[in-house]
Amino acid sequence: MSQPPVNPTPVNPTPMIRWESVTVTYHEATRPTIEDIDLTINEGELALVIGPTGSGKSTLLRTINGLVPHFTGGTLRGRVVVDGRDTAGHPPRELADVVGYVAQDPRSGFVTDTVEEELAYTMESLGIAPVVMRRRVEETLDLLGLTNLRSRPLGMLSGGQRQRVAIGSVLTAAPRVLVLDEPTSALDPGAAEEVLAAVQRLVHDLGITVVLAEHRLERVVEYADRVIVVPGGGRPLIVGEPTVVMETAPIAPPVVRLGRIAGWSPIPLSVRDARRVAGDLRAQLHAVDAQHASSTHPTPPEGAERPALSVTRDLFVALGSHFAIKGVSWQLHAGEVVALMGRNGAGKSTFLGSLVGLHAATRGQVDVAGSDPRSLRGAELVRTIGLVPQEFTDLLTRSTVADECHDADHDARVPQGTTAAILSDLAPDIDPATHPRDLSEGQRLSLALAVVLSGRPPVICLDEPTRGLDYDTKERLVTILRRIQHEGHAIVVATHDVELVAELATRVVILADGEIVADGPTADVVVSSPLFAPQAAKILSTPDAPARWLTPSAVMSALGDAS
């Protein structure tokens, strides 16, 4: 671990973005969001910005093209210089030819109707000659693999395509810096790889400087030239080579945590690197009793006949003119945690929606604890099945946490104070007088979960709960869900997050095009899939013996027991 740090900087690096003692304070904020930043990003670098939710990553990114403070308000002390231009004198529109900025949800930033027009929009604003525009649009279509989508309406794109179009739409202006705010957090593993491959090509072939913020480190850390940790709370940035920073960074992907457990140095950042040094660990683990591995993996509590809480029989659900769910039959038992996986648009959300009665069955049957969810109303529904939707803030309607809890008690017809008690259990330090909007992402999710749990429904569904959550919050969520599971609830989680599945799920169901294509215990289903296997499994599996350890913590406890 005490290796001398490798010096990554080329002989004469050209600084592209420079922050000089930058402090940003928003209006009516008691303390600065980011404080006293001194940092330089060189030309052609891929800089990865990481940090807990609410630590100021987005603010840092938005200072690059002047959205902070020109657009958001607040005060910026110090100087930000991009390609020789000071952002104090250049509002975002005057930097559009230098910085391409893609926001978290690209849908909200689309201006035109179709892919091709969207790609041309920035150039039209910049007044680029029609001949040049035409050529650059064609080049960008090729570069990002969008050629056959050129006349597709933007509303008809999949998540990965949408993200690539958003990147392409700023790329056509030939910017020297590309700023991406969580480009893969809403994408399934396949689409995320598609986007990251495109980004990597831009860095390697075009020499574009890329600044990228991301929570899902397992996907991106191996591509980064430099990691910038924004710890938040006024603490200074940690900047350095990925292998150096990741040794001590407070947040780390599974491959790094596994590296730390095994004491590898330099710390591996990719599955490939880790596999090359993992021979000893594999041997050591295979010596451990295989029986042990399965017991560390989440399993439903033992018991005689567990009741089936949710049953569907040959379910078809039509959305508009096409079937989103085609003939799904399943059973969900008390104490199970089922992960619903599959690419964007495979029908996961629709399936959850029909389980709770949001969508009517076109054919077939849905049954929750003995009744049809469509027929349940009010408190009856709240006490039978709960769903935390993808946009979970939709559930929250009041202006203080206390009011929200009070309403939830009323909705579920339970004694006053029930929801507040659940919430203080999930997230202890929430001031009841705060507005739900001012809570952190994790706290807000806890509040939504507490609201859903208030009626103690035997079945709880969660749609993409870990989108935008940092590792700490995710870990807390896993603990909470495990406890709920052991109280006898059945949990269904629709997710793209393979690491969450490895930690939590007892069973995995993979949907494709509205049909179940795989259904079985987590270890069996995910290990065999190249896309859905968690990193630990990828590192530890051998052709003749598929890995039974899916998470670093499982490996740790296996090693601990062995010694």
Partner: protein, 392 residues
């Protein structure tokens, strides 16, 4: 620098997704058929459709009105793009049907009876003297209902024509062709147009969330409870969109002065006002047609002058402007011919343009008008196919 690098890599690298590469290879390669696939200038579609609408405004003959709707429907089904806005035509037809019903209801409740075939008698409500001349209830005649239905059908037909234009060329694409000086106003309209469908999606989500919490989604309480979150979402999205547009260079004012912008704004408003009055005069059969024509022409002249003055130094450039070629001329002309034929027929009082209701007669079919509608059907064949119908 980046540009030259792009050229080099574009061909040498494999496509990001294998499936997309496969679909790409399956695309048509015959150069002749490729040339035939292009967008028709949205302006041509709007002129054609408005021509049909003007024609509809000149007649109460249900057969002719039905023919106009049929012409619009045939062209729409032949040339609409495979995009969300391409499917809006039927919505306009439904709206038209509702308008007919409402129009007849008003006739029954408030109309002045024509003719002598009394169908039924409604109780009359006595209104205070202030409303003298307005009659509520009373005898309802068959002739009166027929007149109301014809009038409603005329309104519905005009609406169907607008719907046809809307699905053949989205308003956003029409605005892409407006002159640079009017661009900013155009963007505001585009955003307003795309906001409505977004609000509906939001409303659906919020109602789902209310149901999940066991709260009423219907009735007054349901609506009141959903309104605030929906509006909040709309506001949030507009802030996001504004940030995105700002970062993409929207509103880079290169060297336009305040005076130039004011000239453009005044010219825009003035020409719009003249145009509106002109259209009203054209549609209102009691005003002399020549007044409408003069007003419209002068409105157009003001618009052109103002736009030339202000747009000369606009920094924006345009990507692949839609060409105006033979198909566009034919399309626009066919719509204008239908309008002219109907206006002329109305002026010369060609029999069959209006259908008498007292006594009620079976409508006749004036050949002259039908021939002009046959011409308006031409765009279904002479225009090129929209490019996205082949690729999907």
């Amino acid at each position: 620098m980046a540009k030259t690098a792009t050229t080099g890599t574009a061909n040498s690298r494999t496509a990001v997704s294998a499936t997309e590469a496969g679909a790409c290879a399956a695309a048509p390669t015959d150069p002749g058929s490729l040339r035939n696939l292009r967008w028709v200038h949205p302006g041509a579609w709007w002129i054609w459709a408005l021509g049909l609408a003007v024609a509809a405004s000149r007649t109460t003959n249900p057969l002719l009105l039905g023919l106009i709707v049929a012409v619009a429907a045939v062209v729409v089904s032949a040339r609409r793009p495979h995009a969300p806005w391409g499917r809006t035509f039927s919505a306009f037809l439904v709206l038209g049907a509702i308008i007919i019903v409402i129009r007849v209801m008003f006739q029954i409740l408030l109309g002045v009876p024509i003719g002598s075939t009394v169908l039924f008698v409604l109780p009359t409500i006595d209104l205070p003297d202030v409303f003298a001349g307005i009659r509520v209830g009373g005898e309802v005649t068959g002739e009166e209902i027929l007149a109301g239905a014809y009038d409603g059908l005329r309104l519905a037909t005009i609406l169907a024509c607008v719907g046809a234009a809307n699905s053949l060329a989205s308003p956003a694409r029409l605005l892409a062709s407006v002159p640079g000086a009017l661009y900013e106003a155009g963007v505001a309209v585009v955003i307003a147009v795309t906001f409505a469908p977004q609000l509906i999606t939001d409303l659906r989500r919020v109602r789902a969330a209310r149901r999940l919490r066991g709260r009423p989604v219907r009735g007054l309480r349901g609506i009141a409870g959903s309104a605030i979150p929906v509006l909040e979402g709309a506001l949030e999205r507009s802030v996001h969109l504004a940030a995105a547009m700002d970062s993409r260079g929207y509103g880079r004012i290169a060297n336009r002065t305040t005076r130039q912008r004011r000239v453009a704004a005044t010219a825009l408003l003035g020409s719009l006002a003249l145009g509106l009055i002109g259209v009203y005069a054209m549609l209102d059969a009691s005003a002399p047609t020549i007044v409408g024509v003069i007003l419209l022409a002068s409105g157009a002249a003001v618009a052109i002058v103002g736009v030339r003055m202000a747009g000369a130094r606009s920094p924006r450039s345009r990507y692949r402007p839609d060409p105006w070629g033979g198909p566009e001329w034919i399309t626009a002309a066919s719509g204008l011919i239908a309008a002219a034929a109907f206006i002329a027929a109305a002026i010369w009082m060609v029999p069959g343009m209006t259908t008498p209701v007292d006594p009620a007669q079976w409508p006749r079919l004036p050949l002259f008008a039908v021939a002009s509608l046959a011409i308006a059907l031409l765009p279904a064949w002479v225009t090129p196919q929209p490019p996205d119908r082949r690729s999907l």
